[in-house]
């Protein structure tokens, strides 16, 4: 299973699938960083509504993606993360270092704010 990534306007979208293997996660990571380098989007929106587990591996991968995307001047926002999945991850002691909001609309608001701030601070 390959994680679909597509471009819409100035944003990249991706939709995580249920039961992604470690290798598939790694492919997604590489592909996303590649797409971000090519398209230089204002932001990346990752739909996590099909994710039924965030274990230490998946959490680490997402956190590393956030760092990789940031290096290219972008930001990731996760949408639709199930509350039971988020809470199990937290109870494990893990920390998702990515903003998580319920909907695309809120994600876009976040990304636009962040983008404007960066533009301002860069003069």
């Amino acid at each position: 299973m390959q994680v679909p990534i597509w471009k819409e306007g100035e944003y990249l979208f991706a939709s995580l699938l249920t039961g992604l293997s470690d290798v598939e996660f790694l492919h997604f990571y590489d592909n996303l960083i590649h797409q971000v380098t090519v398209h230089k989007p204002k932001g990346v929106i990752v739909d996590a509504s099909y994710v039924d587990i965030l274990d230490s591996y998946a959490t680490r991968m997402l956190n590393e993606m956030a760092v990789g995307v940031k290096k290219e001047g972008g930001m990731i926002v996760v949408i639709g993360l199930r509350s039971d999945v988020f809470s199990a991850m937290n109870q494990l002691g893990l920390n998702l270092k990515i903003e998580s909001v319920p909907t695309v609309k809120e994600a876009l608001t976040k990304l636009n704010h962040q983008y404007d701030d960066t533009m301002k601070s860069n003069g």
């Binding site: 965030l54 230490s56 680490r60 039971d84 199990a88 991850m89 109870q91 494990l92 002691g93």
Partner: protein
């Protein structure tokens, strides 16, 4: 450690799977989720149980290469799920240290063992250097 099928008292059903590749981690956690569903755990608990299975099986693949998992439905006194994960890897030198938040002998975040203990009702780990590791964990149906 060999996987013999021993039917304990009060165990209604046992599923056992080999854990030899990262894909088996996904199979094991899906299987645990299904068993937990049949027992009657709600979706929050099913996710906790599946997350615990993911972490412990991941440790087998990362730190011991191969092992096996047994998932048991417990009938009455108390009713719940018991999960046994065994491997015949190198074992853990210092269990107290391994159980500490943030300790990893590799490049992990070191929350797998202590975190799993937090999310299960019962958690017991035993290990013998050179022989392998066994984790027995359980969650009771409230």
């Amino acid at each position: 450690m060999k996987g013999e099928k021993v039917q304990h008292q009060g165990v209604a059903d046992v599923v056992s799977l080999r854990v030899t590749s990262e894909k088996d981690i996904i199979k094991a956690r899906e299987c645990a989720r299904q068993v937990a569903f049949k027992i009657g755990f709600d979706s929050k608990d099913r996710t906790l149980i599946a997350t615990a299975v993911s972490e412990i099986c991941r440790n087998v693949i990362e730190h011991a290469e191969r092992g096996e998992i047994m998932i048991e439905s417990l009938q009455d006194d108390p009713c719940g799920i018991r999960i046994i994960v065994r491997d015949d890897g190198l074992g853990i030198e210092n269990i107290d240290r391994a159980m500490r938040d943030g300790f990893s002998s590799g490049d992990g975040m070191g929350f797998g063992l202590p975190g799993t203990k937090r999310i299960m009702d019962k958690f017991k780990i035993s290990s013998e250097r050179g022989k392998g590791t066994e984790v027995i964990m359980a969650k009771w149906l409230q």
